[in-house]
């Protein structure tokens, strides 16, 4: 492999001269850097404005180890990757608490501080003069010729590309996408949000460290003035203009922005200005923002087709399709007794007492309804049971275990599925991707295997794919398989959500207003489906619903919540014969 380019350059010296190959070296390095940023921002949705710092660390570390300490290049290279990863982990820690705009701010500040505090320090980096980064050697062979060095860069770029593709095709990539779409939804499918966020940071940092190491070699010296704020921001520009989340798009943009100014000297200095304008234009043209811009670029055709399809099939048929079957019950599944219980739950938001000592118990194999007027605290109680709100006091048990302090993804992994009032799906992901995401916990292969694409991953994925296909065809949604969920009607999204929550094979399913967006006829049909879930699939359901006929038709027991307290509890007959319930709905004071 190493022999090839020298031969090429000898065969056609004009075509593969150092100038052109040098250009391509930069193109390849920038492509790696941009893939690293794309992984973090485009996939996992964690914006980073200090990416240049990771690259700088790679360049300085390589120069430091090889020039000052005489280590071989490969040592510097590996240390760069590790340092990049560690530093990214450090930057990622605050991201567990802060999101969006504020995360952007913290990464920007990080970049500025690295520039001024670390890269600027005489003792560490040689100050203004910088650190020399020597040409790598392999035995007696020196990579002096750009064409030779390009081989290394190109090979690494290919590796990273394949790595990136592997991530996207595994549960890791889907977890990243889910975090970008909605962290709560991700957690509801059992994704450990904190862990995957940090993983995204570390992976991105490692790749950036590698790119930095090569960048140092390509320039020949690592200098503080290379790794400035504008350097970091230029990656953001390239990534946004190329299309965040699109592997091909960002690489094409990176190549464009590095190669064109070299080929056309008049562009030098102007390309950045043009890039800035292009960035603003891209964002302003797609008011939906980065994700939308990327999606439109990625599957403009699919979106167009979906929009057409939407016009034809506006809503659901009045008779709902049968739901996908669930997998075999878990080994530790309960067969009787109380599946989940909330005891004396109190929650207050500011001064508002949302829940004031509410208790409920959900027996196995039953459909339990939770009703009450608007603002009674139904959804809050749901969030407490599924772990999204930690109660001020009180206890939640699930399968006999105290889960009051357990994170939502842990409860999901134990077999607690839930839906959301505003559709708990990745709206920009396709129906198929959502069904794969929903099976996050069913993908049992370890993360490390997924990252390295070891055997076992592909076969595991095939099983998930198969189940996803089954589920989609059970719903009769084959033609929407590759349609982004946001292009479906509200009722259709409801069904997909219900299907996704069943695919997780939950023992207890919390459904938040499942009939929302459905016609009365479809809601009636939904009743039969819910009874199927109980009788055919043997699962337990807690149901919030404002469509009272549906509640009365399916529920074995009903709890009525009013002003954060359980007002009544009993069978449907008991509830319908209680004057207090209707009084609560009418807003009357109830003794």
């Amino acid at each position: 492999m190493l022999v090839l380019p020298p031969i090429l350059s000898r065969l056609a010296p004009g075509l593969f001269n150092d100038f052109r190959m040098g250009m391509l070296v930069y193109a390849a390095i920038y492509s790696m850097a941009i893939l690293s940023l794309n992984l973090l921002t485009g996939y996992a949705g964690q914006i980073t404005l200090g990416h240049g710092a990771f690259i700088g660390v790679g360049a300085f570390a390589t120069g430091y180890l090889t020039w000052w300490w005489g280590f071989p290049f490969i040592t510097g290279f590996i240390v760069s990757a590790i340092l990049g990863g560690l530093l990214a982990l450090l930057v990622g820690l605050p991201a567990l608490r802060i999101r969006g705009l504020y995360l952007a701010v913290s990464t920007l500040a990080f970049g500025v501080v690295m520039e001024r505090m670390v890269f600027n320090r005489e003792s560490l980096t040689g100050g203004q003069a910088g650190t020399t980064v020597p040409v790598p050697k392999m035995g007696s062979f020196e990579f002096i010729r750009e064409a030779d060095f390009f081989v290394i860069c190109f090979a690494l770029l290919i590796c990273i590309w394949v790595f990136d593709r592997g991530i996207v095709a595994s549960k890791v990539g889907r977890a990243f996408f889910a975090i970008r779409e909605d962290e709560d939804v991700a957690a509801s499918f059992g994704v450990d949000v904190a862990r995957y966020k940090l993983l995204a940071f570390v992976t991105s940092g490692v790749i950036a460290g590698i790119a930095g190491s090569l960048y140092g070699v390509a320039v020949g010296v690592a200098q503080v003035e290379s790794f400035t704020l504008e350097f970091s921001l230029s990656f953001v520009i390239i990534a946004v203009v190329g299309g965040l989340g699109s592997r091909r798009g960002v690489v094409v943009a990176a190549v464009f922005f590095t190669v064109f100014p070299q080929l056309f000297p008049f562009l030098d200095g102007n390309i950045e200005i043009a890039g800035s304008i292009l960035l603003i234009y891209t964002l302003a043209r797609h008011p939906g923002g980065l994700a939308q811009a990327f999606l439109e670029a990625r599957d403009a055709k699919a979106a167009a087709a979906a929009k057409k399809g939407e016009a034809e099939t506006d809503d659901l048929p009045t008779v709902l399709p049968s739901l996908p079957s669930v997998g075999a019950p878990r080994a530790d599944a309960m067969t009787s007794g109380i599946v989940a219980e909330a005891v004396d739950i109190k929650v207050s938001f500011g001064g508002l007492q949302a829940l004031n000592g509410a208790s409920l118990a959900i027996p196995h194999g039953k459909i339990v309804g939770l009703i009450g007027p608007n603002g009674a605290g139904k959804t809050t109680l749901f969030n407490v049971m599924s772990g999204f709100i930690r109660p001020d006091s009180g206890q939640v048990t699930f399968k006999g275990k105290d889960v009051t302090r357990m994170a939502p993804h842990g409860r999901a992994a134990m077999g607690l599925g839930r839906t959301f009032q505003l559709i708990g799906l990745g709206k920009n992901l396709t129906v198929r991707e959502n069904f794969l995401l929903a099976q996050h916990c069913a993908a049992t292969y370890p993360i490390a295997k997924a990252l390295l694409r070891l055997p076992g991953v592909a076969s595991g994925e095939r099983v998930l794919e198969e189940r996803a296909r089954e589920a989609i065809s059970a719903l009769g949604f084959e033609r929407f398989t590759d349609t982004p969920v946001r292009n479906l009607s509200h009722g259709q999204q409801r069904l997909v959500e219900l299907g996704c929550s069943l695919v997780t094979s939950p023992e207890l399913l919390l459904l938040d207003e499942p009939s929302g967006g459905m016609s009365p006829a479809a809601a009636e049909s939904l009743a039969e489906r819910l009874i199927d879930i109980r009788d055919k699939l043997g699962r337990t359901v807690l149901l919030i619903e404002h469509h009272i006929p549906l509640v009365l038709a399916v529920c074995d027991e009903i709890y009525v919540l009013n002003f954060g307290e359980i007002l009544a509890h009993g069978t449907t007959e008991e509830i319908t014969s209680s004057p207090e319930v209707i009084a609560a709905y009418f807003g009357e004071a109830v003794a």
Binding site: N374, G375, E524, I531, F586, G587, E588
Partner: protein
């Protein structure tokens, strides 16, 4: 005379329609109420009337002028006020600053001062708290502030969205008394509520909304409790036997315990009247284990 006329209003979000052709009239000097459960489209109706949500089709006429194409700010300038759901006072501004903003369309300082004096007269509580920040007031006081602020430019019509939300019954009662008082002083109101019984106590005219459509319009005294529950979509909660008139033992109409509530006994209703049997106080039984047949929907 109708101060506001809405004809065949349609609107929604994206491709998802929320209002499917709403028509309503608001007579001058009266309190008109729209009742409905969560998600019926009540708030959207108000927001479309005040121009916060664009209309797809249909039109809105206010004081004889078609205002469908006007922006919210212009509608406000023509004498329409809108009290948003959830006590949208400015939490970090004082009571007095909130009121001053309410008078933003008034041209002179003296007008602002006299309007503010008027509001303090209606709500003495606000005068006591004039330097306090909006966010530190109690729920009921915040709602008063929101209403008082809307009154600043002396509007012809006030739209009030869910004033009772999250308030204790005693606070609701007080607030509604003040609303009635404001109304008697000559301000027309269109209120949207979930709190049925209090609303019936003050409204002259009632509409019921379900799933983006107005399903009933009438004088507030005409409505029977059961009929109303049915219109709201919670009729099933009255129990299955109530639909079967032959089983009725004692024909005792339900009167809400509130004194001011003008529900007339045994008033003939427009549609077939279901008879309710007041059930004995519920006895706690063990939940029945067997499956229940689905309730037939009307």
């Amino acid at each position: 005379m109708n101060i506001l006329t809405v004809r065949d209003l349609r609107c929604g979000f994206g491709v998802h329609a929320v209002l499917h052709g709403v028509s309503l009239d608001v007579p001058e000097g009266k309190i008109t109420a729209i009742l409905g459960l969560n998600g019926a489209g009540k708030s959207v109706t108000l927001k479309t009337i005040s121009g916060l949500i664009p209309t797809w089709s249909g039109n809105v006429t206010f004081l004889g002028e078609d205002i469908t194409a006007l922006e919210t700010e212009d509608r406000v300038a023509r004498g329409m006020a809108h009290v948003l759901q959830g006590r949208a006072v400015f939490p970090h501004l004082s009571v007095e600053e909130n009121l001053r903003l309410g008078g933003a369309v008034l041209k002179s300082k003296s007008k602002v001062a006299s309007a503010m004096a008027g509001v303090y007269e209606t709500f003495p509580r606000l005068a006591e708290r004039r330097t306090q920040l909006g966010g530190t007031l109690s729920g009921g006081e915040q709602e008063m502030l929101a209403v008082g602020r809307a009154l600043m430019p002396s509007p012809k019509l006030i739209l009030v969205d869910e004033a009772s939300q999250g308030l204790a019954p005693i606070a609701v009662e007080h607030l509604f008394q003040v609303l009635k008082q404001v109304n008697t002083s000559g301000v027309t109101m269109l209120v949207v509520e979930q709190n049925v019984s209090f609303t019936l106590g003050i409204a002259d005219r009632v509409m019921v909304m379900q799933k983006g459509e107005i399903v009933y319009t009438g004088e507030s005294g005409e409505l029977d409790r059961n009929e109303l529950a049915r219109l709201l979509g919670i009729g099933a909660l009255l129990g299955k036997r109530t639909t079967d008139a032959s089983e009725a033992v004692e024909d005792e109409p339900v009167v809400v315990k509130r004194k001011r509530k003008p529900v007339v006994k045994k008033k003939p209703v427009v549609k077939k009247k279901p008879v309710i049997v007041l059930p004995p106080p519920p006895v706690k039984r063990k939940p029945a284990a067997k499956k229940k047949p689905a309730v037939k929907k009307k």
